[in-house]
């Protein structure tokens, strides 16, 4: 930014009160920027400090045992980790295609006057607090799933040998599938709004050339837009995944909070964040508390990696778009 440098010289060249004010203001803003880094550093230090007793007691086994017994004080994180990954996977399987459809509809198909209102309405889905999804999921959606969706799934998919085990058991309404489904609705606006943004970066010339050669809209999106924005789309998906992994309240209401690993996604389970929300304030004993903090640390590491990857991908796209 040449203008910026020039401006800096103008100010730096001055003497007296202005220079003192500049020095103070510059360093004040610097301190607050540093503070943002300190927050992240503080989170890491606090979580590690809190998790040390549990990690010392159980070692690496904490990651791959699935016992969760507050009475005998034996804890392992496998069940919540498994639940977190499975619910997020379900959310992605449902959420990605729908988000793609929404983004494609808004950028390529719908009339211009409808774009803004539609985009705003989809984004309002993200504005609704997660506890609202939770209470709605528990009182409205879970009974509906129990009565209509799960019996149908059990009768159809549940009868197929092999994958039938995934859909076995009585219809409870509350369980891993319901949680995953609500997560899908919650991450949908995040993924689709990023997809929309990156779709808009495709030069009109490219699309017009394809149309000129006789391509249909579907072909333009799948062969021109999607390859051009591949990195950004993946970045958006990762960002949505990061949200899904850490989502707490909506999941806590509908997952059933059972520390178990079952093959069937119709059965109750738990996730890291749901375990924390449910048990933390009632946990007695240092080892129990510390194990919960260790769960939090694991969640933080997983989401950090996913979000950092998302950010790097989106940055790469930005550089590419900027030339």
């Amino acid at each position: 930014m040449p203008a910026d440098i020039a401006l800096h010289r103008v100010s730096a060249g001055k003497s007296g009160r202005g220079a003192v004010g500049d020095f103070l203001f510059h360093h004040l803003t610097f301190l607050f920027a540093l503070f943002v880094l300190l927050i992240l550093g503080g989170v890491i230090v606090a979580l590690i400090e809190g998790a040390i007793p549990a990690l010392r007691a159980f070692g690496g086994a904490f990651l791959y045992t699935d016992i969760w017994n507050p009475v005998t004080e034996k804890f392992g994180a496998l069940a919540p980790i498994y639940g977190t990954l499975v619910t997020s996977t379900i959310a992605m399987v449902i959420g990605i295609p729908v988000a793609f459809g929404v983004a494609m509809f808004i950028t390529e198909i719908c009339p211009i006057w409808l774009k803004r209102p539609l985009a705003t309405m989809i984004e309002l889905l993200a504005a609704i607090p997660s506890i609202i999804y939770g209470i709605w999921g528990m009182f409205v959606f879970a009974p509906f799933v129990q009565q209509y969706i799960e019996p149908a799934i059990i009768d159809s998919l549940g009868q197929i040998p092999g994958i039938g085990a995934l859909f076995a058991g009585p219809p409870l309404g509350i369980g891993v599938l319901t949680a995953g489904f609500i997560l899908a609705i919650m991450v949908l606006p995040f993924i689709s709004s990023i997809m929309r943004d990156v779709f808009e970066t495709v030069p009109a010339m490219l699309k017009e050339s394809a149309y000129g050669l006789g391509a249909t809209r579907t072909e333009v999106v799948l062969r021109i837009v999607l390859p051009y924005t591949r990195i950004g789309v993946v970045g958006g998906i990762m960002l949505g995944l990061g949200r899904a992994l850490g989502e707490t309240m909506a999941v806590t209401f509908v997952i059933g909070n059972a520390h178990r690993i079952g093959a069937s996604i119709l059965q109750p389970g738990t996730t890291i964040s749901a375990s924390l929300a449910n048990e933390f304030t009632e946990a007695v004993g240092d080892l129990y508390l510390s194990s919960l903090v260790a769960l939090g640390l694991i969640l933080f590491v997983i989401t950090f990696v996913v979000l950092a990857a998302a950010k790097l991908l989106l940055l790469r796209l930005q550089k590419q778009a900027g030339g």
């Binding site: 920027a33 729908v98 939770g134 606006p189 707490t248």
Partner: protein, 280 residues
């Protein structure tokens, strides 16, 4: 020709699916809001705003919870807004191209999407453990940590939209840089920054997870910031999970109140942003 027909059919199919996906997304918005209105409006009465949260089996309102939510949200905004604006100013005005600025920007974006329950855990370790008890201060700090990244991001984005010519004009008149920023850039970017703060407030108004381990809950009226304080999200959580019908009704009423506030802030912020001074 047959090939062309096939492509047309595939195209039509995909278009229909996209429309269906959009309808599917909107369906949930309508369904959630409809259920909220259906259950919430019936539960709303003047009693909500004058009585405290009741023990199970008796009538009551949400006054202490509403008060607690307003207090903690206000303190969080009061801490988070200046912090976020100053950090955002550094990113936009002083750090272009610098390594440190890149790092702060990167970390800020991660904090923006980091799970809020982790923030709750952090403040629990930082304040609750040290102070020995849950407190409204801890709740407000947890919420402030969620406000900061949102404000940093919007402040930086909005300052970046301010044309350099404005800065140069002010500098040419002999004003030092801090005056340029304070008197010219902030004024030009004001609308956008206010939008960002409104969105941040909307976000923390419904946050539950970070309050669970910090402010906890309080059945009674309390103005003591050093002790546990009731707040709407945690009350909704507790009451909705309970087996008592009158508690569940209150949970719906609280849910409706929060949603109205959040949607109002969101739509207001969008309206403000749409007639912003500088468009991209």
């Amino acid at each position: 020709m047959e090939n062309y027909l096939r492509r047309r059919i595939i195209n039509g199919l995909v278009m229909t699916l996209c429309m269906a996906a959009t309808g599917f997304g909107l369906l949930w918005l309508v369904l959630v809001l409809w259920t909220l209105l259906w259950n919430g409006v019936a539960a709303i009465s003047p009693v909500l705003f004058v009585q405290m949260t009741p023990p199970p089996g008796s009538t009551g309102g949400l006054l202490n919870a509403i008060f607690g939510s307003v207090v903690m949200t206000s303190i969080a905004t009061a801490i988070g807004t200046p912090t976020g604006i100053l950090a955002g100013t550094f990113l936009a005005e002083y750090s272009r191209g610098s390594r440190f600025g890149e790092a702060v920007r990167f970390i800020n974006d991660i904090l923006l999407s980091a799970p809020s329950i982790i923030v709750g855990l952090f403040v629990y370790e930082l304040m609750v453990v040290r102070m020995g008890h849950f407190s409204a201060w801890a709740g407000a700090v947890a919420l402030a940590i969620i406000v900061i990244p949102v404000v940093v991001r919007t402040t930086e984005d909005m300052l970046n939209l301010v044309p350099n010519a404005l800065r140069e004009a002010a500098a040419a008149l002999g004003s030092p840089r801090w005056k340029v920023i304070m008197l010219v850039c902030y004024r030009a970017a004001m609308q956008g920054i206010v939008t960002g703060v409104m969105l941040a407030v909307a976000r923390i108004a419904g946050e539950t997870a970070p309050l669970l381990f910090t402010a906890l809950n309080n059945q009674f009226w309390s103005t003591n910031l050093n002790g546990p304080m009731a707040n709407l999200p945690v009350v909704i959580f507790q009451f909705a999970m309970s087996p008592y019908a009158d508690w569940q009704t209150l949970a719906w009423a609280g849910a409706l109140l929060i949603t109205i506030a959040v949607l109002f802030l969101n739509i207001g912020a969008r309206a403000l942003a749409s007639w912003s001074t500088f468009k991209q």
